[in-house]
Subunit: 416 residues, 2 copies
């Protein structure tokens, strides 16, 4: 019997479980009972890692790449990323400004540690990636969720930054400290909304004007639905300034989820602090994973990855109209990423929809019913924030066309 | 040109670079210039990962183990660790209480996040592992360094805990909050000091009496110099209580540094909070690394690892008397781990030693001279704390006998 008074740090109560993980866990339980589940919950590409990358990982292990490596990451990998910015974005980013991290999660941890003092606020869009605010909470800062809608492209804007930026008059208050940064994601999770170059410029200027930092999550880059002339739809903040922080990842476009590798691009002046933090918090990233990642940038692998991107676009182009026909409202057509964020209020009684309480009174209940009764795993909006989250669900098109078609057939039966 | 007022979080000034990394970097620079350097700085076994583990990693990659896995870690690996506690320690630790982490670093991050509120203090020995206090600082807590000496076995004791535990009268003060935990390491870095079972009981009771938590770093377990009848010299706190937290690692005895894998054993009541934190901070650990680690526990691998442990003991048994003969004072004979912590005051003029300022006025200068002039890479005491750190250096016996013999020959010349 514990005799202590079991007390956690206060932050533990404020940090929510990652609900998508709970949906996934329950989905797998149901599968183990023999149920057929269509997985549209997890933000993980279903293709696995491309073969040339796997082979490079095997080669690295055969060559004994099992030792610690530099806390900033393998020099060659940082140089490969530098070349990638040159080839794909036409920008010169010195390898010195690139740090490899244990997933984008590691990059978020470094930035929270570097920039966020106690009570400091970081503005972020609601809905958004759920863990962002928890990294800020970890270091006793605060993620301030700003409601966004179709009216502002489901993204923070210069106007929202100006409106919500907070500068207490020199006195730190537990009721709300000063704002130090804004964090945006383009393409965004869960909406797939992309920030245009013009709007990125405005955002950067708005944040710069406040003396703060702009952090841009670009982990869904490469998975943009290409524009009319085949050009990228999602510009990088690095095309605009060398004074923003970029979070990126080998998990999504590059298909290396289980290897846990991401990267961070930072302004020059921030590098010594970041390196010091990385030495202390990580010592090193996976050495063999970094050797494998070198092969992400070969023409052979890029061809595979681009085919996969095109397949994601085909799925998106199928699922988007199909969901609308079923009665989902989709105010934001995803311009990139792996998700469709869909409003179920027209389907649900609680919001005056057509089906009474048959499918639950909110998106949590809706998702539970879809999973338990109909074998469809989707993520409730509550995972992504508070703003109208009861009305929204997220579909991930991270499963094949046959499975998505099955999901649509099942829903046609359900909503008949 | 940056137009912002470039301001880091206050913690960044308080966090020191990991000096051993700087010694290593400079040593490699000198090598690239053609110098022959004996590496006795880094805490990384020189053997690399055992072949059966590497082969299991290759097999996992061939089988496509490239996806995210559970935030708590692979079930089979947690069960293997549970069996390891049964076979090697004779204790029943449910796999439920074991969480896989990205290195012991990840375990330290989870514990800081779970237990340490702003201004909360965690007692730790000085000298000790340098990053420990920085994890506490990251979450706005504080690592309180308690000077320890040969008189207390270079470890925290029940008496030191009682003396330094701090309970402000209900008021949190930035001058020093309440103490919530004590963190000990056995075998310790840098001294190799082991805490006996009787002393572990006293320590646990002392911390429990204050209503706090005992965290025990056991990452050098398995690398203990065996006792007279071949028994382990380092007991685990898990032999005593199920209410302490244990930090462990696949890096040292298990030889998997570059894979970044550790584990945490926690009391039942702490698991939901820890899992929530791990979901948010890590999403998943390296999946292929976990599959590889399963092979750490086979008799074949254990034989290899035990031979390596015996080799470390041979090195220790060579280096310890040799250093003493050279004039180093070694108050704590290492009972485990990879290090000898040696007092250089008898060698240095600044402390009334025999050589004037010839070898520097303190251990930083001494290490610099040894590296630059004599090709010997060792770590200055300042990496491990403040207490008498100017007088101490750490030798890691993580290089072969021929190299250690060369180091001793060079030092014989130097100190002639």
């Amino acid at each position: 019997m514990p005799t202590n008074n079991k007390r956690f740090a206060a932050r533990v109560d404020d940090i929510q479980p990652f609900r998508v993980v709970e949906v996934l866990t329950r989905a797998k339980e149901l599968e183990s009972l023999g149920r057929d589940i269509v997985h549209m919950e997890a933000g993980e590409p279903d293709f696995g890692t491309a073969l040339p990358v796997i082979e490079a990982g095997i080669e690295a292990l055969k060559n004994g790449a099992t030792y610690y490596s530099d806390a900033k990451g393998l020099r060659e990998l940082r140089e490969s990323i530098s070349l990638y910015y040159k080839s794909d974005y036409g920008v010169e980013i010195s390898a010195e400004r690139i740090m490899i991290t244990p997933g984008a999660s590691g990059a978020l941890l470094l930035l929270a540690g570097l920039l966020v003092d106690r009570d400091d606020c970081v503005l972020m869009a609601d809905p958004g990636y759920p863990c962002n605010r928890n990294f800020m909470r970890l270091v006793e800062g605060k993620g301030v969720l700003i409601p966004v809608t179709a009216a502002n492209n489901f993204q923070l804007t210069a106007a929202l930054v100006a409106e919500h930026w907070h500068k207490p008059d020199g006195v730190s208050s537990s009721a709300g400290g000063r704002t130090v940064a804004a964090l945006v994601a383009s393409p965004a999770n869960p909406t797939g909304a992309v920030i245009s170059k013009a709007e990125l410029v405005s955002l950067f200027n708005a944040v710069e004007q406040q003396g703060g930092y702009l952090l841009v999550d670009e982990i869904y880059h490469g998975l943009d639905a290409k524009g009319k002339n085949g050009e990228k739809t999602a510009p990088s903040i690095l095309e605009i300034t060398d004074q923003a922080f970029v979070i990126n990842s080998f998990s999504k476009y590059f298909g290396m989820t289980g290897w846990r590798l991401g990267w961070l691009v930072a302004p020059d002046w921030a590098l010594p602090g970041l390196e010091k933090l990385a030495q202390n918090l990580f010592i090193s990233m996976s050495t063999m994973a970094q050797h494998a990642a070198l092969k992400c940038f070969t023409p052979q692998t890029r061809d595979i990855l681009d085919q996969r991107r095109d397949e994601f676009k085909i799925r998106r182009d199928f699922l988007l109209p199909a969901l609308r026909e079923l009665g989902f409202i989709i105010p934001q057509e995803p311009a990139g990423g792996l998700y469709i964020y869909a409003d179920i209020s027209q389907l649900l009684g609680a919001f005056g929809g057509s089906f009474g309480d048959k499918f639950g009174r909110n998106s949590q209940e809706f998702c539970l019913i879809m999973l338990e009764q109909h074998g469809l795993a989707i993520t409730p909006g509550a995972d992504f924030g508070h703003h109208l989250s009861d009305r929204y669900v997220r579909f991930a098109f991270t499963t094949g066309m046959d499975r998505l078609a099955l999901a649509v057939r099942r829903m046609k039966e359900i909503f008949r």
